[in-house]
Protein backbone atom coordinates (compact mmCIF):
# COMPACT_ATOMS: atom_id res chain seq x y z
CA UNK A 1 0.00 0.00 0.00
CA UNK A 2 1.20 3.57 -0.78
CA UNK A 3 2.40 5.71 2.09
CA UNK A 4 -0.48 8.02 3.03
CA UNK A 5 1.73 11.12 2.87
CA UNK A 6 4.98 11.85 1.05
CA UNK A 7 6.92 15.10 0.63
CA UNK A 8 9.91 15.70 -1.58
CA UNK A 9 11.94 18.90 -1.21
CA UNK A 10 8.83 20.73 -0.03
CA UNK A 11 9.51 24.44 0.36
CA UNK A 12 7.21 27.34 1.07
CA UNK A 13 8.52 30.90 1.10
CA UNK A 14 6.31 33.88 1.87
CA UNK A 15 8.97 36.30 0.69
CA UNK A 16 12.52 36.20 -0.65
CA UNK A 17 14.12 36.20 2.81
CA UNK A 18 11.91 33.90 4.86
CA UNK A 19 11.01 30.26 4.20
CA UNK A 20 8.33 28.81 6.46
CA UNK A 21 9.21 25.32 5.19
CA UNK A 22 12.59 24.47 3.78
CA UNK A 23 13.27 21.34 1.72
CA UNK A 24 11.07 18.99 3.75
CA UNK A 25 11.37 15.28 2.88
CA UNK A 26 9.03 12.88 4.58
CA UNK A 27 7.04 9.68 4.21
CA UNK A 28 4.25 8.64 6.60
CA UNK A 29 2.61 5.23 6.74
CA UNK A 30 -1.00 4.44 7.60
CA UNK A 31 -2.22 3.09 10.92
CA UNK A 32 -0.40 5.67 13.04
CA UNK A 33 -1.23 8.71 15.12
CA UNK A 34 1.54 11.18 14.44
CA UNK A 35 2.35 14.25 16.50
CA UNK A 36 3.57 17.25 14.51
CA UNK A 37 5.49 19.20 17.10
CA UNK A 38 7.52 22.36 17.06
CA UNK A 39 7.69 25.83 18.61
CA UNK A 40 5.64 28.77 17.31
CA UNK A 41 6.57 29.75 13.76
CA UNK A 42 8.36 26.47 13.06
CA UNK A 43 6.24 25.75 9.94
CA UNK A 44 3.69 23.24 11.30
CA UNK A 45 0.59 25.12 10.12
CA UNK A 46 2.22 25.92 6.78
CA UNK A 47 2.88 22.20 6.29
CA UNK A 48 -0.72 21.38 7.19
CA UNK A 49 -2.06 24.04 4.81
CA UNK A 50 0.06 22.63 1.99
CA UNK A 51 -1.37 19.15 2.60
CA UNK A 52 -4.84 20.66 2.32
CA UNK A 53 -4.22 22.68 -0.83
CA UNK A 54 -4.95 26.04 0.76
CA UNK A 55 -1.35 27.11 0.12
CA UNK A 56 0.64 26.71 -3.07
CA UNK A 57 4.18 25.33 -2.52
CA UNK A 58 7.11 27.44 -3.72
CA UNK A 59 8.91 24.28 -4.80
CA UNK A 60 8.90 20.56 -4.17
CA UNK A 61 6.14 18.04 -4.22
CA UNK A 62 3.54 16.68 -1.86
CA UNK A 63 1.68 13.37 -2.41
CA UNK A 64 -1.32 12.08 -0.55
CA UNK A 65 -2.03 8.42 -1.26
CA UNK A 66 0.23 8.90 -4.30
CA UNK A 67 -1.71 11.91 -5.63
CA UNK A 68 -0.98 15.64 -5.74
CA UNK A 69 -3.41 17.73 -3.64
CA UNK A 70 -6.71 18.13 -5.52
CA UNK A 71 -10.27 16.88 -5.64
CA UNK A 72 -9.31 13.21 -5.14
CA UNK A 73 -7.10 13.91 -2.10
CA UNK A 74 -9.75 16.16 -0.56
CA UNK A 75 -12.10 13.18 -0.58
CA UNK A 76 -9.77 11.30 1.75
CA UNK A 77 -8.27 14.08 3.88
CA UNK A 78 -10.29 15.29 6.84
CA UNK A 79 -8.94 18.64 7.98
CA UNK A 80 -9.44 20.53 11.21
CA UNK A 81 -7.89 24.00 10.92
CA UNK A 82 -6.77 26.04 13.91
CA UNK A 83 -9.63 28.51 13.35
CA UNK A 84 -13.42 28.47 13.07
CA UNK A 85 -14.08 27.74 9.43
CA UNK A 86 -17.84 27.29 9.52
CA UNK A 87 -20.46 29.81 8.44
CA UNK A 88 -21.49 31.10 11.85
CA UNK A 89 -25.01 31.93 10.73
CA UNK A 90 -25.73 28.24 10.16
CA UNK A 91 -27.32 25.91 12.70
CA UNK A 92 -25.38 22.85 13.85
CA UNK A 93 -27.81 20.51 12.08
CA UNK A 94 -27.49 22.52 8.85
CA UNK A 95 -23.72 22.12 9.00
CA UNK A 96 -24.15 18.37 9.37
CA UNK A 97 -26.34 18.37 6.24
CA UNK A 98 -23.66 20.45 4.48
CA UNK A 99 -20.92 17.93 5.33
CA UNK A 100 -23.15 15.04 4.37
CA UNK A 101 -23.92 16.74 1.02
CA UNK A 102 -20.28 17.15 0.06
CA UNK A 103 -18.44 14.24 1.69
CA UNK A 104 -19.47 10.73 0.70
CA UNK A 105 -17.59 9.31 3.67
CA UNK A 106 -19.36 11.47 6.27
CA UNK A 107 -21.53 9.68 8.85
CA UNK A 108 -24.36 11.93 10.10
CA UNK A 109 -25.34 9.26 12.58
CA UNK A 110 -21.89 9.31 14.20
CA UNK A 111 -21.90 13.11 14.29
CA UNK A 112 -25.31 13.28 15.99
CA UNK A 113 -24.22 10.65 18.52
CA UNK A 114 -21.12 12.61 19.50
CA UNK A 115 -23.04 15.90 19.64
CA UNK A 116 -25.51 14.21 21.93
CA UNK A 117 -22.66 12.87 24.13
CA UNK A 118 -21.31 16.39 24.51
CA UNK A 119 -24.82 17.82 24.99
CA UNK A 120 -24.53 20.24 22.11
CA UNK A 121 -27.87 21.60 20.85
CA UNK A 122 -28.15 20.80 17.15
CA UNK A 123 -30.69 23.60 16.64
CA UNK A 124 -28.27 26.24 17.93
CA UNK A 125 -26.64 28.63 15.51
CA UNK A 126 -22.85 28.52 15.53
CA UNK A 127 -22.58 32.20 16.49
CA UNK A 128 -24.46 31.53 19.73
CA UNK A 129 -21.98 28.85 20.87
CA UNK A 130 -18.85 29.43 22.95
CA UNK A 131 -15.43 29.22 21.31
CA UNK A 132 -14.74 25.86 22.95
CA UNK A 133 -18.10 24.42 21.86
CA UNK A 134 -17.48 25.57 18.27
CA UNK A 135 -14.15 23.74 18.36
CA UNK A 136 -15.87 20.61 19.62
CA UNK A 137 -18.44 20.84 16.79
CA UNK A 138 -15.65 21.17 14.24
CA UNK A 139 -13.75 18.22 15.65
CA UNK A 140 -16.91 16.11 15.65
CA UNK A 141 -17.51 16.97 11.99
CA UNK A 142 -13.94 16.10 11.05
CA UNK A 143 -13.88 12.85 13.01
CA UNK A 144 -17.27 11.78 11.61
CA UNK A 145 -15.67 11.12 8.25
CA UNK A 146 -14.12 7.78 7.29
CA UNK A 147 -11.02 9.46 5.95
CA UNK A 148 -7.60 8.12 4.99
CA UNK A 149 -5.74 10.99 6.63
CA UNK A 150 -6.98 13.18 9.45
CA UNK A 151 -5.09 16.43 9.81
CA UNK A 152 -5.82 18.16 13.08
CA UNK A 153 -4.29 21.56 13.80
CA UNK A 154 -4.47 22.29 17.55
CA UNK A 155 -7.56 20.11 18.18
CA UNK A 156 -7.60 20.48 21.95
CA UNK A 157 -6.11 23.95 22.40
CA UNK A 158 -9.38 25.74 23.14
CA UNK A 159 -11.35 23.13 25.06
CA UNK A 160 -11.57 22.53 28.79
CA UNK A 161 -9.50 19.70 30.31
CA UNK A 162 -12.63 17.67 31.07
CA UNK A 163 -13.59 17.59 27.39
CA UNK A 164 -10.04 16.78 26.28
CA UNK A 165 -10.34 13.16 27.40
CA UNK A 166 -13.55 12.76 25.44
CA UNK A 167 -11.96 14.35 22.36
CA UNK A 168 -8.86 12.16 22.60
CA UNK A 169 -10.96 9.03 22.98
CA UNK A 170 -13.04 10.24 20.02
CA UNK A 171 -9.89 10.53 17.96
CA UNK A 172 -8.76 7.05 19.03
CA UNK A 173 -12.14 5.42 18.46
CA UNK A 174 -12.88 6.92 15.09
CA UNK A 175 -9.97 5.95 12.98
CA UNK A 176 -9.03 2.61 11.53
CA UNK A 177 -5.73 0.94 10.70
CA UNK A 178 -5.91 2.10 7.07
CA UNK A 179 -5.92 5.71 8.19
CA UNK A 180 -3.36 8.01 9.75
CA UNK A 181 -3.87 10.98 12.04
CA UNK A 182 -1.52 13.95 11.99
CA UNK A 183 -1.95 16.14 15.07
CA UNK A 184 -0.25 19.48 15.56
CA UNK A 185 -0.29 20.74 19.12
CA UNK A 186 1.62 22.44 21.90
CA UNK A 187 -0.15 20.37 24.56
CA UNK A 188 2.29 17.48 24.23
CA UNK A 189 1.76 16.17 27.73
CA UNK A 190 -1.98 15.75 27.07
CA UNK A 191 -1.65 13.81 23.86
CA UNK A 192 1.63 11.95 24.12
CA UNK A 193 -0.05 8.79 25.37
CA UNK A 194 -2.01 8.39 22.15
CA UNK A 195 0.88 9.13 19.77
CA UNK A 196 2.70 6.42 17.80
CA UNK A 197 5.22 8.71 16.13
CA UNK A 198 6.43 12.28 16.46
CA UNK A 199 7.82 14.76 13.96
CA UNK A 200 9.82 17.67 15.36
CA UNK A 201 9.96 20.69 13.08
CA UNK A 202 12.38 23.56 13.66
CA UNK A 203 12.68 26.60 11.39
CA UNK A 204 10.92 24.81 8.57
CA UNK A 205 13.07 21.69 8.71
CA UNK A 206 12.48 18.23 10.07
CA UNK A 207 14.80 17.60 13.02
CA UNK A 208 13.29 14.37 14.29
CA UNK A 209 11.06 11.64 12.90
CA UNK A 210 10.86 8.84 15.45
CA UNK A 211 8.47 6.31 16.98
CA UNK A 212 7.35 7.27 20.48
CA UNK A 213 8.34 3.82 21.79
CA UNK A 214 11.89 4.33 20.47
CA UNK A 215 12.15 7.65 22.31
CA UNK A 216 10.94 6.05 25.51
CA UNK A 217 13.04 2.88 25.37
CA UNK A 218 16.24 4.10 23.71
CA UNK A 219 16.45 7.57 25.23
CA UNK A 220 14.47 6.86 28.40
CA UNK A 221 12.55 10.12 28.06
CA UNK A 222 9.00 11.20 27.50
CA UNK A 223 8.18 13.11 24.30
CA UNK A 224 7.44 16.18 26.42
CA UNK A 225 10.90 16.05 28.04
CA UNK A 226 12.66 15.48 24.73
CA UNK A 227 10.72 18.38 23.17
CA UNK A 228 11.82 20.72 25.97
CA UNK A 229 15.44 19.64 25.46
CA UNK A 230 15.43 20.01 21.68
CA UNK A 231 13.64 23.33 21.63
CA UNK A 232 15.14 24.90 24.76
CA UNK A 233 15.33 28.67 24.31
Amino acid sequence: MNPILECYGLTKSYNKIYSALNNLNLSLERGQIIGLLGPNGSGKTTFIKLINDVLVPTSGEIRINGMAPGVETKKIVSYLPERTYLDETMRVKEIITYFSDFYDNFSSERAYRMLDDLQIDTNARLKTLSKGTKEKVQLILVMSRDAGLYVLDEPIGGVDPASRDYILSTILNNYNEDAAILISTHLIHDIENILDRVLFIKQGQLVLNAAVDEIRTEQGKSVDTLFREVFRC
Partner: protein, 276 residues
Protein backbone atom coordinates in the same frame (compact mmCIF):
# COMPACT_ATOMS: atom_id res chain seq x y z
CA UNK B 1 -21.64 18.98 -6.90
CA UNK B 2 -22.33 22.13 -8.94
CA UNK B 3 -26.04 21.98 -8.11
CA UNK B 4 -25.29 21.61 -4.41
CA UNK B 5 -22.85 24.52 -4.45
CA UNK B 6 -25.35 26.76 -6.27
CA UNK B 7 -28.02 25.77 -3.73
CA UNK B 8 -25.79 26.85 -0.83
CA UNK B 9 -24.63 30.03 -2.59
CA UNK B 10 -28.22 31.00 -3.36
CA UNK B 11 -29.24 30.21 0.21
CA UNK B 12 -26.55 32.52 1.51
CA UNK B 13 -27.52 35.38 -0.84
CA UNK B 14 -31.19 34.82 -0.05
CA UNK B 15 -30.58 35.94 3.54
CA UNK B 16 -30.66 39.62 2.57
CA UNK B 17 -31.38 40.27 -1.08
CA UNK B 18 -35.12 39.40 -1.15
CA UNK B 19 -35.73 41.96 1.62
CA UNK B 20 -33.84 44.68 -0.28
CA UNK B 21 -35.85 44.03 -3.43
CA UNK B 22 -39.20 43.77 -1.68
CA UNK B 23 -38.42 47.09 0.00
CA UNK B 24 -37.68 48.70 -3.39
CA UNK B 25 -40.93 47.35 -4.84
CA UNK B 26 -42.95 48.61 -1.89
CA UNK B 27 -41.25 52.02 -2.13
CA UNK B 28 -42.15 52.15 -5.84
CA UNK B 29 -45.78 51.21 -5.18
CA UNK B 30 -46.03 53.93 -2.53
CA UNK B 31 -44.43 56.45 -4.85
CA UNK B 32 -46.89 55.54 -7.60
CA UNK B 33 -49.86 55.81 -5.23
CA UNK B 34 -48.89 59.01 -3.48
CA UNK B 35 -46.66 60.89 -5.93
CA UNK B 36 -46.57 60.02 -9.63
CA UNK B 37 -50.14 58.67 -9.67
CA UNK B 38 -51.35 62.09 -8.60
CA UNK B 39 -49.63 64.08 -11.31
CA UNK B 40 -52.00 66.58 -12.81
CA UNK B 41 -50.14 68.80 -15.31
CA UNK B 42 -53.03 71.30 -15.35
CA UNK B 43 -52.59 72.16 -11.68
CA UNK B 44 -48.80 72.12 -11.70
CA UNK B 45 -47.00 74.65 -9.52
CA UNK B 46 -43.36 75.26 -8.64
CA UNK B 47 -43.84 73.77 -5.18
CA UNK B 48 -45.42 70.60 -6.56
CA UNK B 49 -42.64 70.33 -9.21
CA UNK B 50 -40.04 70.58 -6.44
CA UNK B 51 -41.69 67.76 -4.48
CA UNK B 52 -41.79 65.57 -7.62
CA UNK B 53 -38.11 66.21 -8.33
CA UNK B 54 -37.30 65.37 -4.72
CA UNK B 55 -39.20 62.08 -4.94
CA UNK B 56 -37.56 61.17 -8.25
CA UNK B 57 -34.13 61.77 -6.71
CA UNK B 58 -35.21 59.52 -3.82
CA UNK B 59 -36.39 56.89 -6.31
CA UNK B 60 -33.12 56.85 -8.25
CA UNK B 61 -31.17 56.75 -4.98
CA UNK B 62 -33.21 53.69 -3.92
CA UNK B 63 -32.57 51.99 -7.28
CA UNK B 64 -28.84 52.77 -7.12
CA UNK B 65 -28.67 51.49 -3.53
CA UNK B 66 -30.51 48.33 -4.60
CA UNK B 67 -28.01 47.59 -7.38
CA UNK B 68 -25.01 48.47 -5.25
CA UNK B 69 -26.34 46.27 -2.45
CA UNK B 70 -26.86 43.33 -4.80
CA UNK B 71 -23.37 43.48 -6.32
CA UNK B 72 -21.78 44.18 -2.96
CA UNK B 73 -23.45 41.20 -1.29
CA UNK B 74 -22.52 38.89 -4.18
CA UNK B 75 -18.90 40.12 -3.92
CA UNK B 76 -18.87 39.72 -0.12
CA UNK B 77 -20.21 36.17 -0.41
CA UNK B 78 -17.48 35.31 -2.93
CA UNK B 79 -14.76 36.90 -0.78
CA UNK B 80 -15.96 35.48 2.54
CA UNK B 81 -16.66 31.99 1.28
CA UNK B 82 -13.45 31.58 -0.71
CA UNK B 83 -10.78 33.73 0.93
CA UNK B 84 -11.50 34.23 4.65
CA UNK B 85 -11.68 31.58 7.41
CA UNK B 86 -14.67 30.00 5.64
CA UNK B 87 -12.31 29.34 2.73
CA UNK B 88 -10.62 26.66 4.85
CA UNK B 89 -13.78 24.62 4.51
CA UNK B 90 -14.86 25.72 1.02
CA UNK B 91 -11.44 25.12 -0.49
CA UNK B 92 -11.10 21.71 1.13
CA UNK B 93 -14.38 20.40 -0.27
CA UNK B 94 -13.82 17.78 -2.98
CA UNK B 95 -14.70 20.27 -5.70
CA UNK B 96 -12.51 21.97 -8.32
CA UNK B 97 -11.91 25.71 -8.27
CA UNK B 98 -13.58 25.87 -11.68
CA UNK B 99 -16.80 24.47 -10.16
CA UNK B 100 -16.61 26.89 -7.22
CA UNK B 101 -16.20 29.85 -9.57
CA UNK B 102 -18.97 28.67 -11.89
CA UNK B 103 -21.35 28.17 -8.98
CA UNK B 104 -20.68 31.62 -7.57
CA UNK B 105 -20.96 33.22 -11.02
CA UNK B 106 -24.30 31.51 -11.66
CA UNK B 107 -25.69 32.43 -8.22
CA UNK B 108 -24.44 36.03 -8.53
CA UNK B 109 -25.80 36.31 -12.08
CA UNK B 110 -29.21 34.99 -11.07
CA UNK B 111 -29.46 37.74 -8.47
CA UNK B 112 -28.05 40.34 -10.88
CA UNK B 113 -30.81 39.48 -13.38
CA UNK B 114 -33.47 39.48 -10.64
CA UNK B 115 -32.14 42.89 -9.58
CA UNK B 116 -32.38 44.21 -13.12
CA UNK B 117 -35.92 42.86 -13.49
CA UNK B 118 -36.95 44.53 -10.23
CA UNK B 119 -35.42 47.83 -11.42
CA UNK B 120 -37.44 47.66 -14.65
CA UNK B 121 -40.57 46.74 -12.70
CA UNK B 122 -40.03 49.59 -10.21
CA UNK B 123 -39.50 52.05 -13.07
CA UNK B 124 -42.68 50.79 -14.74
CA UNK B 125 -44.63 51.12 -11.48
CA UNK B 126 -43.43 54.67 -10.87
CA UNK B 127 -43.54 56.04 -14.40
CA UNK B 128 -46.37 54.28 -16.20
CA UNK B 129 -49.25 56.19 -14.67
CA UNK B 130 -52.54 56.31 -16.60
CA UNK B 131 -51.76 59.91 -17.63
CA UNK B 132 -48.30 59.06 -19.06
CA UNK B 133 -49.64 55.86 -20.68
CA UNK B 134 -52.40 57.69 -22.49
CA UNK B 135 -50.00 60.45 -23.55
CA UNK B 136 -47.55 57.89 -24.95
CA UNK B 137 -50.29 55.89 -26.69
CA UNK B 138 -51.79 58.95 -28.37
CA UNK B 139 -48.36 60.17 -29.58
CA UNK B 140 -46.77 56.75 -30.15
CA UNK B 141 -45.98 57.18 -33.85
CA UNK B 142 -44.58 60.67 -33.29
CA UNK B 143 -42.33 59.55 -30.41
CA UNK B 144 -41.00 56.56 -32.37
CA UNK B 145 -40.29 58.80 -35.37
CA UNK B 146 -38.44 61.31 -33.15
CA UNK B 147 -36.26 58.50 -31.80
CA UNK B 148 -35.46 57.41 -35.36
CA UNK B 149 -37.86 54.52 -35.99
CA UNK B 150 -37.86 55.30 -39.68
CA UNK B 151 -36.46 53.57 -42.76
CA UNK B 152 -34.95 50.24 -41.82
CA UNK B 153 -36.16 50.69 -38.22
CA UNK B 154 -39.74 51.59 -39.19
CA UNK B 155 -41.21 48.36 -37.84
CA UNK B 156 -39.69 48.80 -34.38
CA UNK B 157 -42.15 48.64 -31.50
CA UNK B 158 -41.82 49.85 -27.92
CA UNK B 159 -41.98 46.31 -26.57
CA UNK B 160 -39.23 44.95 -28.83
CA UNK B 161 -37.00 47.98 -28.05
CA UNK B 162 -37.57 47.43 -24.33
CA UNK B 163 -36.85 43.69 -24.62
CA UNK B 164 -33.53 44.37 -26.36
CA UNK B 165 -32.67 47.02 -23.76
CA UNK B 166 -33.56 44.62 -20.93
CA UNK B 167 -31.42 41.80 -22.36
CA UNK B 168 -28.55 44.23 -22.84
CA UNK B 169 -28.89 45.41 -19.21
CA UNK B 170 -28.90 41.79 -18.00
CA UNK B 171 -25.70 41.07 -19.91
CA UNK B 172 -24.19 44.18 -18.32
CA UNK B 173 -25.19 42.96 -14.84
CA UNK B 174 -23.66 39.52 -15.38
CA UNK B 175 -20.52 41.18 -16.70
CA UNK B 176 -20.42 43.32 -13.51
CA UNK B 177 -20.57 40.19 -11.35
CA UNK B 178 -17.63 38.68 -13.25
CA UNK B 179 -15.71 41.94 -12.85
CA UNK B 180 -16.36 42.09 -9.10
CA UNK B 181 -15.14 38.50 -8.64
CA UNK B 182 -12.04 39.27 -10.70
CA UNK B 183 -11.34 42.30 -8.48
CA UNK B 184 -11.73 40.20 -5.32
CA UNK B 185 -9.36 37.56 -6.74
CA UNK B 186 -6.82 40.23 -7.77
CA UNK B 187 -7.03 41.69 -4.25
CA UNK B 188 -5.79 38.34 -2.93
CA UNK B 189 -2.48 38.88 -4.69
CA UNK B 190 -1.68 41.72 -2.28
CA UNK B 191 0.39 40.57 0.68
CA UNK B 192 -1.78 42.57 3.12
CA UNK B 193 -4.91 44.83 3.03
CA UNK B 194 -6.52 42.45 0.57
CA UNK B 195 -9.99 44.04 0.74
CA UNK B 196 -8.48 47.41 -0.09
CA UNK B 197 -6.56 45.64 -2.85
CA UNK B 198 -9.85 44.34 -4.25
CA UNK B 199 -11.40 47.83 -4.21
CA UNK B 200 -8.33 49.32 -5.94
CA UNK B 201 -8.43 46.47 -8.48
CA UNK B 202 -12.12 47.16 -9.16
CA UNK B 203 -11.47 50.83 -9.94
CA UNK B 204 -8.42 49.93 -12.01
CA UNK B 205 -10.37 47.40 -14.10
CA UNK B 206 -13.29 49.87 -14.49
CA UNK B 207 -10.94 52.61 -15.70
CA UNK B 208 -9.15 50.32 -18.14
CA UNK B 209 -12.48 49.05 -19.51
CA UNK B 210 -13.89 52.58 -19.87
CA UNK B 211 -10.82 53.74 -21.80
CA UNK B 212 -10.91 50.58 -23.92
CA UNK B 213 -14.60 51.08 -24.62
CA UNK B 214 -14.02 54.71 -25.69
CA UNK B 215 -11.18 53.68 -27.98
CA UNK B 216 -13.19 50.86 -29.56
CA UNK B 217 -16.25 53.09 -30.03
CA UNK B 218 -14.10 55.78 -31.58
CA UNK B 219 -12.52 53.24 -33.91
CA UNK B 220 -15.92 51.94 -34.97
CA UNK B 221 -17.22 55.46 -35.46
CA UNK B 222 -19.88 55.61 -32.75
CA UNK B 223 -18.36 58.43 -30.72
CA UNK B 224 -17.34 60.37 -33.80
CA UNK B 225 -20.84 60.09 -35.18
CA UNK B 226 -22.29 61.51 -31.96
CA UNK B 227 -19.80 64.37 -31.81
CA UNK B 228 -20.17 65.27 -35.48
CA UNK B 229 -23.96 65.13 -35.28
CA UNK B 230 -24.10 67.14 -32.09
CA UNK B 231 -21.91 69.82 -33.65
CA UNK B 232 -23.68 69.95 -36.99
CA UNK B 233 -26.59 72.18 -37.86
CA UNK B 234 -28.68 69.53 -39.53
CA UNK B 235 -30.79 67.37 -37.24
CA UNK B 236 -30.17 64.05 -38.99
CA UNK B 237 -29.04 62.17 -35.87
CA UNK B 238 -30.82 58.83 -35.52
CA UNK B 239 -30.93 57.85 -31.85
CA UNK B 240 -32.05 54.27 -32.48
CA UNK B 241 -29.31 53.64 -35.05
CA UNK B 242 -26.77 55.14 -32.67
CA UNK B 243 -28.00 53.03 -29.72
CA UNK B 244 -27.95 49.85 -31.82
CA UNK B 245 -24.34 50.60 -32.81
CA UNK B 246 -23.40 51.27 -29.18
CA UNK B 247 -25.12 48.13 -27.95
CA UNK B 248 -23.50 45.94 -30.61
CA UNK B 249 -20.02 47.22 -29.79
CA UNK B 250 -20.64 47.13 -26.03
CA UNK B 251 -21.99 43.58 -26.17
CA UNK B 252 -18.88 42.34 -27.97
CA UNK B 253 -16.67 44.28 -25.57
CA UNK B 254 -18.52 43.10 -22.44
CA UNK B 255 -18.57 39.47 -23.57
CA UNK B 256 -14.87 39.59 -24.49
CA UNK B 257 -13.69 41.26 -21.28
CA UNK B 258 -15.94 39.02 -19.15
CA UNK B 259 -14.39 35.89 -20.68
CA UNK B 260 -10.87 37.25 -20.09
CA UNK B 261 -11.65 38.28 -16.50
CA UNK B 262 -13.33 34.93 -15.78
CA UNK B 263 -10.29 32.99 -17.04
CA UNK B 264 -7.99 35.29 -15.06
CA UNK B 265 -10.03 34.73 -11.85
CA UNK B 266 -9.89 30.98 -12.38
CA UNK B 267 -6.12 31.10 -12.92
CA UNK B 268 -5.58 33.13 -9.73
CA UNK B 269 -7.80 30.76 -7.71
CA UNK B 270 -5.90 27.77 -9.03
CA UNK B 271 -2.32 28.94 -8.94
CA UNK B 272 -1.92 31.99 -6.76
CA UNK B 273 -4.19 31.75 -3.75
CA UNK B 274 -2.55 31.42 -0.35
CA UNK B 275 -4.99 31.53 2.54
CA UNK B 276 -3.41 33.32 5.47
Amino acid sequence: MLKKLIRYDMKSLNHFLPFLHIFALLASILMRLFVTGRINPQSSSKQVDFIFILFFILFFTTITALSTGTYLLAGIRFYKNMFTDEGYLTRTLPVTNATHLLSKTIAGSIWAVINMSVIYLCTYLVLCTPYIQSAVTSHKAEILREFGATGEYAGLSFSSALTVLFLFSCLGSISSIVMIYASVALGQLFSSHRVLGAVVSYFAISTVLSVLSLVVMALFGNETRLIITAGSEGDNFNFIAYMIDVMKTSTILMAGTSVILYIMTHYIMNKKINLI
